[in-house]
Subunit: 342 residues, 2 copies
Amino acid sequence: MQRERGMEALGPGTYRLYGVGIATTAAVVGPKEGRGPLGGYFDRVWPDDEHGQATFEAAELALATEAATVAVERAGLEWEQVEAVLGGDLLDQLITTNFAGRAHGRPLLGVFAACASFTEALGLGACLIAGGGPRTVLAMAASHHYAAERQFRFPTELGYQRLPTASWTATAAGATVLTADVPPGGLIVEAVTFGRVVDYGQKNPNDMGSAMAPAAADTILRHLQATGQRPGDFDRIVTGDLGAVGVPLAAEAARRSGTEIAPVLDDCGLLLYDRDDEDVHNGGSGAGCSAAVFNAYLATRLLGGSWRHLLLAATGALFSPTTYRQGESIPGICHAVEIRRG
Amino acid sequence: MQRERGMEALGPGTYRLYGVGIATTAAVVGPKEGRGPLGGYFDRVWPDDEHGQATFEAAELALATEAATVAVERAGLEWEQVEAVLGGDLLDQLITTNFAGRAHGRPLLGVFAACASFTEALGLGACLIAGGGPRTVLAMAASHHYAAERQFRFPTELGYQRLPTASWTATAAGATVLTADVPPGGLIVEAVTFGRVVDYGQKNPNDMGSAMAPAAADTILRHLQATGQRPGDFDRIVTGDLGAVGVPLAAEAARRSGTEIAPVLDDCGLLLYDRDDEDVHNGGSGAGCSAAVFNAYLATRLLGGSWRHLLLAATGALFSPTTYRQGESIPGICHAVEIRRG
């Protein structure tokens, strides 16, 4: 099915898109993620966290590259046919995304919204296609638990015993091939809402769920209002990594604005691990969390017929070890992408 | 003048844009930048590097916020009328861009291409408008010398004596209000080329000009080829921060491909400082360098009538202190935006 591409502003940051579909998805994860309830959905599960790489950073790069390559090959494409790559990760200066670009050599647009980077990439890529630009775009994001842990957490007051509200950064990567050649019966990107920074003054990096929940509610409510939909119009509204602490807070924030989202609300971070898995506590997080859960589990549920309509609202906590030490709060952001089976 | 918005792919990563103009530009810089040859072009020059802020990071945030605010106010806009902000900076986890978003509260798309972040933001923002999305977008980028210095350079082998090939990260911020209401006789964004990562294996963080020159040549040549133009069709092709070392290398790389760009080639990093100013060496660099030079000097030259047609090709060196210590090379990227006076 071919339909004319187009893009229409429904409100600040919310755009209706026409003529953008999803060609393929792929996700590759580490062993802990493979042991979780979604283990059977991932394309590849690494047997260990390094998988032969010399550093955790090199492992994150290999993980991201593998997910992207599976998505591109599954679409029957050569890399040369990918017109643009949009991607993000958590490492300083976006080194995973940029070094992956060294290998694929395609026009690269690096994005950063912390753990919401995947939906920023997916949403922007979909806008570029809808607007009449590229016809084939790869959106990707990745994180590696041990690369993130040593960059973010050891320099903070966390110490080595993880707090019950702390999240577990996922070793996970996901990639989506977006296309102007919307596949019949496939997934369609219907609309996006780009988030704004919301700050309730939370300063605890061991409780990111609380820090991000207001931003999640803000973006979800803005999306519903701008598109004229109710929560019940979706099979699921799935946040990125609010976790056990953040999901009820986001639902409560929406409820205070008069909208009940709890019945359809779920969270990639809650879906990814068994809750009794060691040290997971609040749930999964990281740029790769929503990327892998969407590109494996959520896309499969949509394509398999049990669901038809999804709002993927990945969430990001905006801080650095420097800002934390300087006493800054941790604002949140949430970018949402609405997807429907055609 | 109103014309229909649109976007057309001319090649991988190169897009012709219709109906996108520049409403206003603004730039704010530190004292060293104010003493340079472009001092009279900047909207504000800070008397000192902190300007009352408690940290260099807070100073960078204040600088970015000031440039953005001047651009928005000059356009006669309230912040609420800005439909999206695209921005980037060099600090870990893009904290300047994200914390600026906390204050303005507009839908925020963080981008990262190191010192090419400004043209990534400008180019992507222009695509969103051309594609039929927002009508008013702010693109911005910033850097602060001392915030960058302590994040990037002190942990490396640089020591304290700066090498002759080292660049000076600018304390500078620039912002552009992009609009679908193209101003009569104003500046038009005609086309963009998004760059690919190019790596010649350079590993010296004190010689970023050499590291980025191949990427600059790659993007400039791709842009010329895809748009069917010659270097002489432009009054200037201006790179971001190749500096004294990188500019001749980029010209030589283009020459080897049969295209002579040297007669129209200039560089924001070379324009920003007096060459005999202490410690500048290779020239200015940083995400704020091209942002401030474009939004002050280059835009003024275009509007003032002496030039009419510019290719702004900001350049970024892709590395982090971690990748440097792990022995990785420093690839480059360059995103180009073509601007014409209407």
